[in-house]
Symmetry: D2
Subunit: 383 residues, 4 copies
Amino acid sequence: MPQQPEATIGIGMVGYAFMGRAHSAAWHAVTRAFDVPARPRLAAICGRDKAATEEAAQRLGWASTETDWRALIDRDDVDLIDISAPGDMHASIAIAALRAGKHVLCEKPLANSLTEALAMKEAADAAYAAGARAMVGFNYRRVPALALARRLVEQGRIGTLRHVRAVYLQDWLADPQAPMTWRMQAERAGSGALGDLGAHIIDLARYLTGDEITDVSALATTFVAERPYAGESAVGMVTVDDAVVLSARLASGALASFEATRYAAGHKNGLRIELNGSAGSLAFDLERLNELEFLDRADQPGLTGFRRILVTEPYHPYLAGWWPPGHTLGWEHTFTHQAADLLTAIAEGEQPLPSFADGLAVQRVLDAAARSAAAHRWESVTR
Amino acid sequence: MPQQPEATIGIGMVGYAFMGRAHSAAWHAVTRAFDVPARPRLAAICGRDKAATEEAAQRLGWASTETDWRALIDRDDVDLIDISAPGDMHASIAIAALRAGKHVLCEKPLANSLTEALAMKEAADAAYAAGARAMVGFNYRRVPALALARRLVEQGRIGTLRHVRAVYLQDWLADPQAPMTWRMQAERAGSGALGDLGAHIIDLARYLTGDEITDVSALATTFVAERPYAGESAVGMVTVDDAVVLSARLASGALASFEATRYAAGHKNGLRIELNGSAGSLAFDLERLNELEFLDRADQPGLTGFRRILVTEPYHPYLAGWWPPGHTLGWEHTFTHQAADLLTAIAEGEQPLPSFADGLAVQRVLDAAARSAAAHRWESVTR
Amino acid sequence: MPQQPEATIGIGMVGYAFMGRAHSAAWHAVTRAFDVPARPRLAAICGRDKAATEEAAQRLGWASTETDWRALIDRDDVDLIDISAPGDMHASIAIAALRAGKHVLCEKPLANSLTEALAMKEAADAAYAAGARAMVGFNYRRVPALALARRLVEQGRIGTLRHVRAVYLQDWLADPQAPMTWRMQAERAGSGALGDLGAHIIDLARYLTGDEITDVSALATTFVAERPYAGESAVGMVTVDDAVVLSARLASGALASFEATRYAAGHKNGLRIELNGSAGSLAFDLERLNELEFLDRADQPGLTGFRRILVTEPYHPYLAGWWPPGHTLGWEHTFTHQAADLLTAIAEGEQPLPSFADGLAVQRVLDAAARSAAAHRWESVTR
Amino acid sequence: MPQQPEATIGIGMVGYAFMGRAHSAAWHAVTRAFDVPARPRLAAICGRDKAATEEAAQRLGWASTETDWRALIDRDDVDLIDISAPGDMHASIAIAALRAGKHVLCEKPLANSLTEALAMKEAADAAYAAGARAMVGFNYRRVPALALARRLVEQGRIGTLRHVRAVYLQDWLADPQAPMTWRMQAERAGSGALGDLGAHIIDLARYLTGDEITDVSALATTFVAERPYAGESAVGMVTVDDAVVLSARLASGALASFEATRYAAGHKNGLRIELNGSAGSLAFDLERLNELEFLDRADQPGLTGFRRILVTEPYHPYLAGWWPPGHTLGWEHTFTHQAADLLTAIAEGEQPLPSFADGLAVQRVLDAAARSAAAHRWESVTR
């Protein structure tokens, strides 16, 4: 059970929607399960609409509000800027914060374009020397089952990698009458399923395998071109991809396939990833967050089989401070674990992972995929 | 998303171990997802060891400490006593608190004996008129999937009940060298697997079906009679049941079977319950907390099958204030939901469920089961 | 791949309904996958209705017909009597056949009463000296996954047995208007779900564990007392149990629970059995016939989990002569495997298993269960 | 239960290895479950090695042997040529047989090259007028669960198609020391995983959706370049693909992904296919052959979920003549069902499906995939 630290670290968060709620919960919960070196102070939350921001502050437990993110960065009681705003704001805020010497946690995908991502990575590098730390919020690296999978790969338990097979299946657009949101507008979201969902599985492929994607062939489509605005008769044009299928080659020679879609009827949060290697396989399904499947070819012949490991034991990653075995965790604690790791890295002066360099690496793949889909040809991932 | 209430309610909790941690988290989290009529104030936590209690207060976010539960009850800033202590303390604390006009939330099972449970139920009845409310903490009623199951049964979706089939499988005693704890001592725990695990599935059977158990035949055993004390060479006698198998008849004529064990290798928290009726079936597994399986015989012939429902939609019980569909909840929020319902019932002057009468009803079944196992014969459940 | 034998053995079968069809298929198929010492000749099939029997002979590939089972036994070209008729005919035919020096394969359960079963077992013992062999058709012992489970138990892979948990769930009577058949009449079927379904799981418990059931407590019920005859307005009384729940103690001290029902909506052939031991667990589901789940507590801590073993490898029981790994077998080949083992035992002069003594042992449990259900008390299994 | 026909049809089969065994079993079994218009006579089996062929004839139940397939075609007692030989022999035998007026059943994939496949399709067209019928053996169309899936798609139950997601995962080459066989030699097998496994899932995608693949992007690799000959020190070069990943666009605008590999550790026969449409989804796994998963978006909100349908009911395709519900079928009966459909089509003068035109359509996709993989670019499927 965690000890409570003396030190504190002031958090300023931009955004209070879905991600803002999840991050708030994590900042509150992190000391419940982890011996973090500094206790987060939820100093200020920032949004453009003053009334809504104040209501959010009250509801989500923040001490004060700002309506201009520049003012948030300027505050002395804020040590870390948590960017939970839409993708088109990431670069400006993150760069300004880093230049001001603040630590930054930026939601994924890092940026809406490769250009932005490059600038952000440079800003992070420059700030590093000055002691500021930057992290991108690929929270699924902190699912205990996936952290365990990473550990097993590092230990050589699946041998030489052959295949990565990853899908992220949702269905909230299966209904052609589902209303328009900013997530379907290229100028806000950058891309559609590709950046929103595809970014997660591309990051996980890199994280789990330690390998790099070198070439991609992408097929993207928009199934429903126009959608009604919620409660209005007007319709808006969908300017992002609804779904994307991606083939890729990894540096090691392994093959990979990725698929991201919002039209997979019946799948709500179907992030599934499987790795096959010469010595074994690993499989995971986000809808069954607490489970990892592991196939060990070294098991006795005739007795091999995918093991359903319930990843709730004290010796599993992140689990020592939680509940007894078998008492499952929910999706929200991926953010709690992320917060714990970030606070620790900052205190120890280490680079928190995934870094902006990792975020950039994912962005390079997203960029190559977008080029590939547009040109209908294979594209190399730039280095 | 929940509004924040003006009113507050002062909570005083006895106990800070496993259950104390879970309850603390719930009192903190409840306003995040629910529009509760009063915001809980974590006024004081109570334990016998002053230093440990103070550390727990700090860690779990309580404003002050007490070392005597009587003092806790006496405090003016405490409106509700949350009893997370072992079973042998339930009756004394609950009765005193109710007599003092405090609301009570008491962990399950209600008591260690039928006599205690009867007294507690009487105290709750007496306090009700004076405005104090008592609830027993069968938290699994607040798993959204199980609350959905209850709703479907009430709507007649499974028709006439035929079968209840419930097991609660754990394996933390599978190793004969696992150390002694108070949970293996009859004088502290009352019983072993029967009261700890069996109580949950008996309560769920009542809750889900609305039916009553009338007769039971129980078979109980202690597989390992002596266990070492942790870190000591001395051994202690196990004076409770390690496992119990129970057959039961319900008032409706349906048949039921129950099993509770700490020796089911590979099962960590394997509470599984299935109902079969003339019109359909429902099945649940606590290790897959976010799922409910539903078989509807009214489906088109040839297309019937158990549906895996991911119970994470806004129209599912308790879900409206949480995350988008597919973003799963963890075990701990069963307590959050329990807290929300309790706060609401208190504010509205209603009887929170499960009541002490429900806790007593479960205790009557446990008592009949213990008598049955001892006498090796069928026993009626007293009324 | 099997060699074809020179020798043949003449088969005479009584009955041509469901079981007769399955046995016929097995006698034809056995040489396809196994090196049996004698090739079965499907000499004659016997039924009371001459026209129907002749049609069955043509359809199922039998060389001739009889309408009197005594005549079948008298035939010189018949070496083995295969009894696929209803339970009320088992004893007369089996005893006569054994006295005439014929080998006997008798469908399960062995008999409709303990008295009959005792007489049959004595007849088998007497015939054994004269060279005739008797086997009872508990075909599920020949599911490769269950034979593998038995092998693992024998090798000590699950350690000391703690629990047997077995259910046999069907739903063909879930509809109260499903018509009467002989299976619902005590005078033909002996019992209902108990003998039809319960016999299988009781036999499997004995087979898999090598343990014996010593005491039982049974709860039986008939949910629907009257049913219409198919296509008629008349109704018939159901005189057997619709469902039974059984608690049992094994000689080793392990606990067991059994349930057999025809009212489990959605379950078509849901025979599920799980064993828990001090070192591991095994689980099986007949609806997923080619799979065995195995939990090995000796696996590395943190990496234990139920392994889904696809039992289709050459080193799995019965599999060497079939298809490449992953090419699944169907239910019918349990009979093919049974035929192969029986033919081998006869050729080698060995006692085929399960013997009539095994059939009798199951019958003793069924008898105790029926007594227990009637008297509403625990009953010992006679020895 | 099937009636036995008077008419017979003489079968001559080329090949007696894995596929020959499976086809033989099917020709024997077909009358057990189906009312076929003509009973197959297993007239002659043909192989180059006389002794081995005679042994196979005895073992597999064929009346005579040939060592030259031309002689087989010439026989008057042979009405249908069943080609179970490797791919490099398909074209010669099929074309000669069709020209001789014989019906042909040819194993998949139809041919080793597009040129051959075109010639075979032309031969089939020419023979059609003369009354000879040709069919290609994509046996998985006859898995009852997949035939049910096709029926549901035809009925509009999944609405407008969005996604096809299909993999065929095996692992028999995961071990780098697994020996060379003809299946790894381009001159015999044409291709590796692509033609052997990929052909099946491409055919199924066409069959299930009724849609056509128009463009493909393929990534193929050979992980292990050299392998030892069985029992020899010499090694051979692997000249086919070990694994292939394929993205595809369908004529309807739906997206598809395919993967075929022999290196997916732990997967023995892992053909999995899923369709997502605007109204629902369907999912299938060959390792669980008797199950179909169906998600119906028209189900009541909050109660949608993938239904596990056990496809063993009389109203399911192919099931009426088999066993009671819940009694599963094995892999081999896909060939039995294929035989039944072929015999029926011949008797009725209809075109059996899949036709050589279907086989050619698959070959065009395989050809485009091979060109795509070689040229590292998108390729159109020729028409």
